[in-house]
Amino acid sequence: MPIRLFRRKEEGEKKIKIPEGMWIKCDACLEIIYKPEVERNLNVCPKCNYHFRIPAMERIRAVTDEGTFREFGEELESVDMLSFTDTKKYTDRLKEAKKKTGRKEAVITGTAKINGMDVVLAVLDFEFLGGSMGCVVGEKVTAAAEAAKELSRPFLIYSASGGARMQEGVLSLMQMAKTSAALARLADARLPFISVLTDPTTGGVAASFAMLGDIIVSEPGALIGFAGPRVIEQTIKQKLPEGFQRAEFLLEHGMIDIIVERTRLKPTLTQLLRFMTASSGK
């Protein structure tokens, strides 16, 4: 009897698990969609074209040539230099983020090839503390920009971030200056920098490297801005217009170059890189 009971329970669990795993609800159109189909479509809803937020490693896989990505800087970890505690300890928040993502920090940096062209990449991960920029993110992005300059390669950053990491105080603010200074040197060396914006790109990340691309590309529907919508509404005490701070709004206002769907990103980046590296008339 106990064995049968156990078995029945297991069967029951399976019955619930299978549909949950195979079918998901789209965050945007609320339609029930078939998960393998969404995954084949690079996590874009086949019904409404909503671009799901995805981990950094998936972005790298989707855009680089297979087996060409070499990570660097993975040995860097954050330090709780302020002994910061809000509703949780910063050290606990870091531990949780590491467990959740299996990564040490909110950005992955490395070298790779995109359709045979060598590039240096920095890809932010929103799953790790909201992609926030502390000292390690600042250091890794800076080191990646310096590597691009050293190796004379184009540099790409994928942004996905709520902004600077408050738990590291003013030191996180200074990472905005540090990363921008490295990009100034890259620009002086006449090397291309393409900034890819994904949902969301706000605060100190938007107000530093994300908006400094020679070319700024965005995924459709991404929230992009300096201040968050809630802060703006509270300040001006007005309802915000429909579509405010979305990629399409920024394109209309002249702040970004192109909106590219995730499935078209690799060919578009390839084309851009070809135009910007073709005649290296240095």
Binding site: E75, L76, E77, S78, V79, M81, L82, F84, T85, D86, T87, C135, V136, G138, E139, A164, R165, M166, E168, G169, V170, L171, S172, L173, M174, Q175, M176, A177, K178, S180, A181, A182, A184, R185, D188, T202, G204, A206, A207, S208, F209, A210, M211, L212, I224, G225, F226, A227, V231, I232, T235, I236, Q238, L240, P241, F244, Q245, H253, G254, M255
Partner: protein, 324 residues
């Protein structure tokens, strides 16, 4: 200007009122009265010294935002000669929270760029409470380029709660304007001296804050987000701003420890608002020394030092050991 007191100054208020009264009746004939005045004056000095040698970070935040605190234009009046304001970003409009102009600092020609808060209601609104729009940052950048062209040192004054969070500001690219200044200031081929005089509020402050030397007033603050903003996000309660200020470590002494600030300018006892002239004198002397030092460096040296200065900011751990 009516002098306003802060909560923690309460022990001084009554005594100062009494001293005022005694001084009013003192005609120089009553010896006892004279003695009492001297005694009371000493006592007030002692209490004030005690209070001001044990300020919390929140109390310093209140001083940094004190309504009587000297603003950028007060320092312009006290420290510089022949100030000539110039306007506009040549693209959209002139942004009054950012003030730019030519000036002379002890005989040295410079370009001054700073954030200005308003003193009364009309001025506060005109200056947008010291919160710049993108065109303010773009005006600042235009003037920096002008300084570079004529090799004039740039002096920036930081005093803002933050960049303005509004619909128009977002439409016109607030984040791009700030980011652009960070990049261009990193490679501007002329000395840049930064003075944090009041509130250094997040990216809106940093957009004028990349320089060769960063000076900070003793009771100024500088932080990644306002204590209220931090409290509202992390505690979902703006009333926790005091805790947030403590946690983020926003004072000049804190920033000096993290090598974000090069030098702290001491303020008169009781804070800069109690003696604008004395505060400005200290700022003037410090600025003149810094500018002279930076003037002696070649452009190459300046840019290398500036890059290294920001390159080194941060505390990290490498897997193999500690600290970096």
């Amino acid at each position: 200007m009516i002098l306003q007191y802060l909560d923690f100054e309460k022990p001084i208020i009554d005594l100062e009122n009494r001293l005022e009264q005694l001084r009013r009746v003192d005609d120089g004939t009553d010896k006892n009265l004279r003695e009492e005045i001297v005694k009371l004056d000493k006592k007030i000095g002692k209490i004030r010294k005690e209070i001001f040698s044990n300020l919390t970070r929140w109390q310093i935040t209140q001083l940094a935002r004190h309504p009587n605190r000297p603003y950028m234009l007060d320092y312009i009046n006290h420290c510089f000669k022949n100030f000539l304001e110039i306007h506009g970003d040549r693209a959209f409009r002139d942004d009054p929270p950012v003030v730019c102009g030519f000036a002379e600092l002890e005989g040295e020609k410079v370009l001054v760029i700073g954030q200005q808060k308003g003193r009364n209601t009309t001025e506060k609104i005109r200056r947008n409470f010291g919160m710049a729009n993108p065109e303010g940052y773009r005006k600042a950048l235009r003037v920096m380029k002008l300084a570079e062209k004529f090799r004039l040192p740039v002096i920036t004054f930081i005093d803002t709660p933050g960049a303005f969070p509004g619909i128009g500001a977002e439409e016109r690219g607030q984040s791009e304007a700030i980011a652009r200044n960070l990049l261009e200031m990193a490679r501007l081929e002329t000395p840049i001296l930064v003075v944090v005089i009041g509130e250094g509020g997040s990216g809106g402050a940093l957009a004028l804050g990349v320089g060769d030397e960063i000076l900070m007033m003793e009771y100024a603050i500088y932080s990644v987000i306002s204590p209220e903003g931090c409290a509202s996000i992390l505690w979902r309660d703006t009333a926790r701003a005091e805790t947030a200020a403590e946690m983020m470590k926003v004072t000049a002494a804190d920033l000096k420890k993290f090598s974000v600030v090069d030098r702290i300018i001491p303020e008169p006892l009781g804070g800069a608002h109690r003696d604008h002239k004395a505060a400005a004198d200290a700022v003037r002397v410090a600025m003149a020394e810094s500018v002279a030092g930076l003037r002696s460096l070649s452009v190459r040296q300046l840019l290398d030092r500036r890059y290294a200065k920001f390159r080194d900011i941060g505390v990290i751990r490498r897997k193999t050991g500690s600290n970096g």
